[in-house]
Amino acid sequence: MSKSYRDGLPISPEKFVDQLMRLKRGSISRRDFLGLTGLGVATAVMARELGVMPTPAFAAETLGDRMSIATWPNYHDPQTFENFKAETGVAVEVNVFGSNEEMLAKLQAGGSGWSLFVPTNYTISTYKKLGIIEPLDMAKLGNFDGKSEDSRFTAEGTIDGTIYAVPKNWGTTGFAVNTKKLTKPMSSWQEFWDTAMAEGDGRTMVHDYQLTTIGNALKYYGYSFNSLKQDELAKAEELLLKVKPHLFAVSSDYQPSMRSGDAWMTMCWTNDGAQLHRDIAEIAYVLGKEGGEIWTDFYAIPKDAPNKPAGYALLNYLMNPKVAVKEHLANGAPCTDARVNALLPKEVLDNPILYPAADLLKPLEFGAAATLTDPGRAELMARFKAA
């Protein structure tokens, strides 16, 4: 073949028609035609990318060529989706969300396009009530083993004996502190809020999320994290409004600011705490001794999922302990599945950020379904943000 500058360039329209005519006249073989025009490579790539020729394991059911998942930031090993694509030909589009409310809003509006999503424990009953999630067909989830799951964390996925969601991992909501900047040892939500108005002035972040921001303000007074009582919420509001001018930001995307040193303290979820501490040793993760949130994230399939077969295939793939263990190493949240824990390295299982001492876990509360839909808490959050 000649080595001209045109090699490797896309074929020109004139050349293409010229070759096509030669093919029609029979003066060129089909293979040459595909090679010359680049269509051969294109079809080969398309066949692989679009799953026209799926691998035998998944060939039984048509999985299509793509699906989309709604999940949380920094929550998966990107390699997982690459591997899934290599095995099934299904490309996974990842949509990242900041709150359960936002996920619910998208699903309620319809046409979300997701075939799998990652709701938190306290939202599942509402999804079921609204009829927007599918009772899971366990026959398609052979990799899931209910017996190996820790029942403390799985209960809310099952409603009236029907499984609507299977757990991904659990975790806690505490706060992360840069101990070089804020040297005083802290162990409570009371200290968190007081420090935010003193040494941490202008350097503290709270979530843009009613459940945790209001819940942890309630903890300042020792009230329930889930309180809907007027007088208790009024006290929490008073505190929040007092703290507001001292805050660095109201945002659930706190990793960048903590890493750059702009923020010194933030409300924080287990997995982010583990990631921050892993990379920057002086960032500590603290659980308030008054309590706070414990949570489980689940996988569920929306009723209007455009590609249910692929949704089930990916879910089953993620339930494979060998796959799940990589997910846990990447995102850092503790796992509910004993089979996965057996595969995790000892230093992970000994990490107190992931597996806090029992006396710290005891006062924690799971979020309550009522907080998700309560207009009072939503309005309180709006007043706090507007202040």
Binding site: E101, K106, Q108, A249, V250, P256, A378, A386
Partner: protein, 313 residues
């Protein structure tokens, strides 16, 4: 045929879409074929506007007189309660009413000298390149560009550089100043281009005449240049201001979500508390406010630039 040529004249004089439409109607009965052609030509735009503008607007109006369902979302009702509840977002409205004009003004102050230079001072052969340089950043998503500013203004960006020269502990990110900077940066081209267009059409003989008649450069600028470029200024100003009325991204990213604009209130009402009826009522109010802004800006610009009518967008 006479009628036909007449209508062509009308549309040429009017130079606006409605005039074409009127012309099309006046031809009813005669020249059916031409009529049909006009209808066919207008059909895609009409269909587009009906499906993507009128119908959603009607839906929002219907939502706004409804109620929030117990689990969030919308449930049918006929009530003005949502509108009565508008004071609950008074702070957000107030913040927006301050931000939008201040942001647009800051944009104008930065944009005018640039547009002036481009239109009147820049060498002809550079002009196109300079204009392209202003437009090119627009090809990247605003989200990306605003995220870049987060890192530039963040602790490892400009403040770290300033620390080298002895200015320490300066916090730039998540301040009102950062929001203003983001706004000016994001909307600058929208302000520069209309002003540039009106300055470029400026008849330079008027400037010479003004100077010949003894005017100082300053009074020539104020009395001739600025005056004649006012249509561009008002176009740019109202364009930027209307977009700012709905802005939520820049305050969220560069203001740390601490400053709450009406756009943020809307996002939260639809995505967080899922109070769609209240969100719809606010959206309708915002549309009405925008219309009022447009009308006022139009009036001002008409008065200032003589009787000439000005198209804003």
């Amino acid at each position: 045929m006479r009628q036909g040529s007449n209508s062509v004249q009308i549309s040429a004089v009017g130079g606006q879409l409605p005039a074409d439409a009127q012309a099309a109607f006046s031809m009813r009965g005669s020249l059916l074929r031409k009529n049909l052609l006009t209808v066919l030509l207008l059909a895609p735009a009409t269909l587009w506007l009906v499906v993507f503008l009128v119908l959603p607007f009607v839906a929002i109006v219907i939502f706004s007189v409804g109620e929030r369902a117990p689990e969030g979302g919308y449930q049918a009702a006929l009530t003005l309660a949502q509108y009565a509840n508008l004071p609950a977002r008074a702070t957000a409205f107030w913040n927006t009413m301050v931000l939008a004009p201040v942001g647009a003004l800051a944009c104008l102050l930065v944009a005018y000298p640039v547009a002036y230079y481009l239109a009147l001072r820049a060498p002809q052969r550079w002009r196109l390149i300079l204009l392209a340089l202003i437009v090119i950043p627009f090809w990247t998503s605003l989200l990306m560009r605003t995220y870049a500013w987060m890192y530039i203004l963040g602790g490892r960006g400009v403040p770290a550089l300033l620390a080298y020269v002895g200015i320490e502990d300066l916090r730039l990110i998540n301040t009102p100043g950062a929001v203003l900077l983001g706004i000016v940066y994001g909307y600058l081209p929208l302000m520069i281009l209309p002003i540039y267009v009106s300055l470029e059409r400026l008849d330079r003989r008027l400037l010479e005449a003004s100077a010949d008649l003894g005017a100082t450069p300053l009074s020539t600028f104020l009395g001739v240049t600025l005056r004649l470029s006012l249509p561009g200024v008002t176009t740019g100003f109202s364009l930027v201001m209307i977009l700012l009325l709905g802005e939520y991204l820049i305050p969220t990213l560069l203001g740390g979500g601490k400053v709450f604009f009406i756009g943020n209130a809307l996002v939260d009402l639809f995505l967080q508390s899922r109070n769609w009826p209240f969100g719809s009522a606010i959206a309708i109010t915002l549309v009405l406010v925008s219309v009022v802004v447009l009308i006022v800006a139009n009036r001002i610009s008409t008065r200032l630039s003589g009787a000439r009518r000005v198209d804003l967008i």
